[in-house]
Amino acid sequence: MQGTMEKIDDDTYELFFGPAHPGSGNFSVKLKVDGERIVSARADPGYLHRGFEKLMEYRLPLQNAVLSDRICVLESLAWNLVHAEAVDELMGVEVPERAKYIRVIMAELSRIQSHLIWYGIISIGTGFDTGFKLAFGYRDFILDLFELITGGRVYPAGYICPGGVRRDLPESAEEKILNVLDKIGKMIDFERAENPANLARLKDVGILNLKDAIRLGATGPVLRASGLKTDVRKEEPYEVYDRFDFEIPVRKEGDAYARFQIGLEEMEQSVGIIKQALKDLPDGDFIAKEFSKPKLNMKIPEGEAYIRNEIGRGEAGVYMVSDGGIKPYRVKIRGPSFLHIIPVLEFLLRDAQIADVPAIYWSLNGCPADIDR
């Protein structure tokens, strides 16, 4: 942990966590500490504010799809999907079946790689370097798939675009995806093995009970680790998620270890979903006819849509309003990390020990990019 210490009075000091800390991203937390105990914490975002909501008002939906990659770099395809669905709903586009399956496959691959980063970052934060290197190594196999399918390793450039997907799956993709999933399966076995390093650092740390979790606006894995069985994919099935058989992992403990375990279990479920989707993958178009060639003058009918999706970090939402022009009138992006690493983190850090800050911070799996947008 680095930073400057400023003496406030005889007992309390101010300590910075971030913004240059490896792994915290462009984000910092100001901690007021009394000895080893944290008296209060204040999150300080804004190092990465790019004003995407406003920027999208100036651009066509097609260009916004490219922009939506950058909302959260670690989960670009998932954000592509939320944005594309909002435009689809406003325009009333009938997305072809094949595109829906490809979208699900890509979103789940994105979830797996995001959870691998989560595992890696927690490992390095709690002093287990091997886990970090393995997780990032295995993530690379998925990035190779993204490179093959979308043409870019990290930024898919709006691969999931309004109307479908920008390219069809290459012929070799199916075999390669299955091949990678086998490798990921091995990684998950390794992760699921009870690891004393993780147990010692994460067990009974940062306990969040269900009532607090709902009040603080926690969603996704954080909420599930506190005991509420909820998942947007099941409750409000988008794309073709209602056709797949998968479980929602739930824990009751609400501590950092429970959140960490939920992430690992979700990876297993995602592997299952991709295998089912590949089995049923239908033939046909991969993009709706009216979108098959980019057009500059497509009008978005007047109206509004609010889309919720389950991404790796929790609930993602896009609220889009159109006044009938070719550009959206207003876009609101609701990121899960906005609530996870501002109110939830501030709440959990109160009265915690300094040594537990990394464990709590990374167990929430925050992405500063989606707070700042």
Binding site: R215, E315, F338
Partner: protein, 172 residues
């Protein structure tokens, strides 16, 4: 479109107690238009009686022609699996509204803090409305429709003499 029974029940429940416009947008989506004075009562009712516990998002849409801001509260019910959108209008020049942070707690407090910064809406009773993203910004609220950030960026940061930056001038 499938309209489930529960959605109709909720609508009936709301219209029985409040004089508001209600409608079903599609499956799992209800909207309510409420005058800003009734907002707090309506929100209390929606949370405590109907079980909408999760404030998913709070958004502001700027309508300069009408001279109004439209506030939209998107609230999800974990029991009924329905999203209700409460809309209310406030004056654009002097946007003030009661806070809902007493109802939904910290999650709504942080949403209001963000909207205060980006649109300048004053949420009366919100304990903390300090800026989140923009440091030392004392210009107009940046997400208002009449603030042209492109013009601002060109004037402040770009130069016509620089060959690579001059491309941004004179293009929309």
């Amino acid at each position: 479109m499938v309209e489930s029974v529960r959605e109709k029940e909720i609508i009936e429940n709301i219209t029985k107690n409040f004089k508001v416009d209600v409608g079903i947008q599609r499956e799992r989506r209800i909207w309510v238009k409420s005058p800003s004075e009734d907002l707090i009562d309506l929100c209390m009712f929606v949370k405590n009686k109907l079980g909408f516990k999760h404030l998913s998002a709070l958004s502001v849409t700027d309508w300069p022609k009408k001279g109004e801001y439209e506030l939209t509260y998107h609230i999800w019910s974990y029991d009924d699996k329905i999203l209700i959108t409460i809309k209310t209008m406030v004056d654009r020049e002097n946007p003030e509204i009661e806070t809902v942070s007493k109802i939904w707690g910290e999650s709504s407090q942080i949403h209001e803090r963000e909207m205060h910064e980006l649109f300048g809406v004053k949420f009366k009773g919100n304990p903390d409305l300090s800026p989140l993203f923009l440091e030392d910004w004392d210009g107009p609220a940046p997400f208002r429709k009449d603030f042209d950030w492109r013009e601002y960026v060109r004037n402040e940061y770009y130069s016509k003499d620089n060959d690579r930056e001059s491309a941004y001038f004179g293009r929309d």
